[in-house]
């Protein structure tokens, strides 16, 4: 019985994915919008956990091939550079926490969110202590959500 149920779910997933892949986009519903928001909010945490844990493998899985990020100070990095930084345990540990996650835009294949990220720690000679306003962009590619890029600005303005 369990097996039959599992098989049904698998077939349903394949069929529904196939419909989207063939360009037969289902009508957007409020529930689907909420699902996108929920999914990318989780991916936001996956992203930060990967950075905290020096988990380059997860970062490489999450980042799209032409991922781009602008760090505070205007430093522009590619996917490979960002994955290398995350993987490098010599750079030291950062405590990273995101709050105030706001999904600014969500469609079936694009999501843009902002959050407030608090970082504590040093990497090399650089101290990252502080709060940052971050914009993260996600795009659905080949049926899977990938991180397309991020822009990060240090919060220096008085609240």
């Amino acid at each position: 019985m369990k097996r039959a149920y599992g098989l049904s779910v698998a077939i349903l997933l394949i069929v529904s994915s196939g419909g989207v892949a063939l360009g037969q986009a289902p009508k957007k519903t409020a529930a689907e919008q909420e699902d996108v928001a929920g999914t990318v909010a989780i991916l936001d945490h996956v992203w930060l956990d990967a950075a905290h844990n020096h988990d380059g493998e997860t970062a490489a899985w999450l980042f799209a091939d032409n991922f781009v990020e602008i760090h505070p100070g205007g430093f522009l990095v590619s996917k490979q550079q960002q994955v290398d930084m995350i993987s490098n345990t010599q750079l030291g540990d950062l405590a990273i926490q995101s709050t105030d996650i706001q999904v600014r835009y969500a469609s079936p294949d694009v999501a843009v969110l902002t959050d407030k990220t608090t970082i504590r720690g040093k990497q090399g000679e650089t101290s990252y202590d502080g709060q940052y306003r971050v914009m993260r962009v996600f795009a659905k590619q080949h049926g899977r959500w990938r991180a397309a890029g991020a822009g990060i600005a240090r919060i220096t303005a008085a609240p």
Binding site: Y105, Q141, A148, G151
Partner: protein
């Protein structure tokens, strides 16, 4: 023979489809059939000259601006500033080194923007910034949905 033709067609389709999913180009190129350099210049020219009718249409309702001090503004808030007595005077708003990363219905533009001008109280706003810009395709039209500015410290 037929099988070879089918494989050839498949290779051609994949050859076109895969680059279209994730393109990184200098903005002089027409990635996705869009002149990204012109789009970026039109955007900033409109902010400099106060073409608010254009900006009202070009900014998506989801638009959010994060300035270099981390302060964020929604579309309504930012256009309110540009319309109001506190609007800044922008003499130069010039994007260079525009790069585009296209992901289907969203594109990320990065550029180096030079700003010369002052706020409503006369305080200088001169600076060099590396900027992260996000545009989305809605009903076939590309619209701005986000900006994050950073002071360019890369040459210091």
């Amino acid at each position: 023979m037929m099988r070879h033709i089918q494989v050839g067609i498949l290779v051609l389709i994949l050859g076109f489809a895969i680059p279209a999913m994730g393109q990184t180009k200098s903005a002089g190129d027409l990635a996705g059939g869009v002149d990204w350099k012109a789009l970026d210049h039109k955007w900033l020219d409109s902010e400099r000259t106060g073409d608010l009718d254009y900006l009202e249409k070009f900014f998506a309702d989801s638009y959010v601006l994060v300035r270099a001090d981390g302060q964020s503004y929604t579309k309504k808030e930012w256009l309110g500033i540009l319309r109001g007595p506190d609007r800044p005077t922008l003499l130069t708003l010039d994007p260079e080194d525009i790069q585009v990363h296209v992901f289907g219905n969203v594109a990320i533009l990065t550029d180096h923007t030079t700003i010369k001008g002052h706020d409503s109280k006369g305080k200088s706003m001169d600076g060099e910034y590396n900027v992260f810009r996000v545009v989305i395709k809605q009903n076939g039209i590309w619209r701005a949905t986000g900006v994050v500015m950073n002071p360019d410290l890369t040459k210091k």
